[in-house]
């Protein structure tokens, strides 16, 4: 990092030292109704139309993407309240990884930043192929690159608000050709702008390696690549080590989401927070402490405290004290919460 390096927030650049405690993968304002799957049975369709209340959480928790309203984080006042809970626990910066296809709202993020005093980093990029606007199919890699660079250097969609990260870039399994175009474009854009790339890999153990190979081949720097959602993608220590050995960041960003039955992919069992910490501990023992990132990927209403969930403050409130109890050193915790995210975000 040079002395002139900065992190791009929605209210302008800040020095990396100002960013402090940072969650590198969240959603404050987003609409992922692109993920909505209409239930087939009459009784499930009824449940999917009910407002979210305490006595239907039992259904909602196991039907995350079968409920339209759950997939919308669209109430700015609620986002402010929930983000303040994070701030009250010592949080300082949030990366909103909402990309095209998830209804990104940079002006909304700027208002939330002013209301809460938190630094917020906005994103450019595209989510998974089913959510792509129709024009992506006709765009060349060069045209997508221009758009990414423009969002970063001039501002997103004419708002004047500059993106500070490329991602989450959505990848399916198998990888869609248009998603591959976006990855290539992002790698080229990174060489021009030095902005980090954050990946939402497809739900397969082979996905991270395939994506990293594409990015590196197109000229991206491994230390500016974040492989997200690792805990629902790779389960073997050997494979984790391999990704880390490329020099990429590895992001356990589903903290608080402990329901092991994974309705989005029933063949995968999601790990618990304890299992996440076991993996992180193992990776620190292998010497990769400086490549570890953690976050919650708050993405639906049932993740918010207001709707019975754990919210943006879960890691600070529950996980960090537990890490100390489990023997993580203050140096390691500081690295994971502060040094690593601010290093990867620094432009």
């Amino acid at each position: 990092m040079t002395s002139s390096s900065y992190i791009q927030t929605v209210l302008g650049p800040i020095s990396p030292a100002e960013a402090g405690v940072t969650m590198p993968h969240e959603h404050l304002l987003s609409d992922v109704t692109c993920l909505y799957v209409e239930p087939t049975t009459a009784s499930d369709r009824f449940m999917s139309r009910q407002p979210i209340t305490i006595d239907n959480l039992w259904w909602l928790r196991y039907h995350y993407n079968n409920h339209l309203d759950n997939l919308r984080l669209d109430d700015e006042r609620v986002a402010i309240e929930e983000a303040l809970l994070y701030g009250q626990l010592g949080g300082q910066t949030i990366v909103d990884a909402t990309t095209i296809g998830e209804s990104p709202d940079p002006l909304g993020l700027a208002r939330i930043s002013r209301a809460t005093g938190l630094n917020i980093v906005a994103a450019t990029g595209y989510y998974v192929a089913p959510s792509h606007p129709p024009n992506v199919n006709d765009m060349t890699v060069e045209e997508i690159t221009r758009k990414l660079v423009s969002d970063i250097t001039t501002g997103i969609d004419g708002t004047g608000i500059r993106a500070g990260i490329m991602g989450e870039l959505g990848c399916s399994w198998p990888l869609d050709p248009n998603e591959r175009k976006v990855l290539t474009a992002a790698a080229i854009a990174q060489q021009e702008t030095n902005v980090a790339i954050s990946i939402h890999p497809g739900r397969n153990e082979e996905a991270p390696k395939e994506i990293i190979d594409i990015l590196l081949e197109a000229g991206a720097s491994p230390e500016k690549i974040i492989m997200g959602h690792i805990e629902r993608t790779i389960f073997e220590m050997d494979d984790l080590e391999r990704i880390a050995s490329y020099g990429c960041y590895i992001e356990w960003d589903l903290f608080g989401q402990e329901l092991s039955y994974y309705s989005l992919a029933p063949h995968i069992s999601r790990p618990t927070d304890a299992q996440r910490l076991d993996q992180i501990a193992a990776l620190t023992k292998k010497g990769y402490t400086n490549k570890i990132l953690v976050s919650h990927d708050i993405g639906g209403k049932t993740h918010l405290v207001k709707y019975g969930g754990h919210g943006y403050g879960h890691i600070l409130r529950v996980i960090v004290p537990w890490m100390y109890q489990r023997g993580f050193t203050e140096k390691t915790v500081r690295a994971i919460l502060i040094d690593n995210p601010t290093t990867v975000l620094a432009i």
Partner: protein, 348 residues
């Protein structure tokens, strides 16, 4: 010779048991577990009513909220128990023993209202819940109380218990809890009733208690070792326990939060991990010893307050097991055949 089980409405033929949850609480007050919160912001939360905004706090402060630990409303219990029935359930074993405010009359009302078989319990919970006369009582005295609950009726209600336990054990085992364990052995040998154990929170606790029971003459097939999900993760110790021949109870299904407020040094396991242990036990030849439950009872585990309720295993877990390749025969063993064998008492 008939094979019977004592329910709160009288004895039934054990072939009528059907799909059985082996460890639940329909009406209980676990105030004995209550720990006043220390942090100032938690003290306020501890007295708030449970709303959707406080559900998450509760899940991480299970025992720091008095109201959460007390579900004694029979109307609510009826609604929640119906969710089990509607998913195809037939029988609930209510393991609420002295120290948790058992309510056998309430259980009888729930049974009548829902059509479910309900089995009531006799026994003592963990030592902090013991009343002041327990230290003066002998093993024989405690056994006599249990036998009276099983053969004449619980506390003079005329409603007979059908299981001994959960017998609450701490780690280390308290002398009065050891007395209760031995008393349960005496009562089991006298009546033929099964014993359900709530072991202390340590990997070696089940072995210690099994040894006490076996040494006292208990038949292993009358012993149900509960809460294995939060007690044994070491496969050698699990195998050792399984080889004693006792029943192996995974009774915390639906409770997917790994941070364990009651014992922060233990990481709790998820439903997926529970299923993995069960699949391993099946592979090792112990299918006929596995029984299931949700230990639902605290408000935060009930659907009215954001939880999964008594129907969770039938609604989510057994279909998931099928998806994972567990055979229909093995699922029936866990839900029907094993509970039937564990709970049956042979009578002339």
């Amino acid at each position: 010779m008939t094979s019977q089980v004592q329910t709160v409405l009288g004895p039934i033929n054990s072939s009528e048991l059907g799909v059985t949850m082996m460890h639940e609480h329909l009406l209980a007050d676990a105030a004995a577990l209550y720990q006043a919160p220390t942090a100032p912001e938690d003290r306020r939360m501890a007295n708030e009513l449970i709303t959707i905004e406080t559900v998450n706090w509760l899940r991480y402060h299970f025992a720091n909220h008095l109201d959460n630990l007390k579900q004694d409303d029979p109307e609510i219990a009826i609604d929640e128990a119906m969710m089990f029935k509607l998913e195809g359930g037939n029988t609930i074993v209510d393991c609420t023993v002295t120290g948790m405010s058992p309510n056998p009359v309430g259980l009888a009302n729930i049974s009548r209202a829902t059509g479910l078989n309900v089995i009531a319990a006799t026994g003592l919970y963990v030592q902090p819940s013991h009343s002041s006369n327990i230290p003066q009582m002998s093993e024989e005295d405690l056994a006599q109380n249990m036998i009276s609950d099983l053969t004449e009726g619980i506390d003079g209600s005329g409603i007979k218990a059908g299981i001994i336990g959960e017998i609450g054990c701490s780690w280390p085992l308290h002398a009065d809890e050891r007395k209760a364990v031995i008393a349960s052995s005496i009562a089991s040998q006298s009546t033929g009733a099964a014993i359900s154990i709530h072991p202390g929170r340590n990997e070696d606790a089940p072995k210690e208690i099994i040894n006490i029971l076996l040494e006292a003459g208990t038949r292993p097939e009358k012993i149900i070792m509960g809460h294995l999900d939060r007690t044994i993760t070491d496969l050698h110790k699990l195998k050792e326990l399984a080889e004693t021949g006792c029943y192996l109870e995974y009774d915390l299904f639906g409770q997917d939060i790994s941070f364990y407020p009651l014992a922060p040094h233990i990481a709790r396991i998820s439903d997926a991990q529970r299923i993995e242990f069960i699949e391993w036990l099946i592979y090792e030849g112990h299918i006929n010893q596995i029984v299931l439950g949700q230990d639902a009872g605290a408000k935060v585990n009930l659907t009215k307050w954001g939880g999964h309720g008594y129907g969770h295993i039938l609604r989510i877990v057994t279909p998931w097991m099928r998806q994972r390749g567990v055979t229909e025969q093995n699922i029936k063993a866990m839900l029907v055949d094993n509970p039937k064998r564990a709970l049956s008492v042979e009578t002339e």
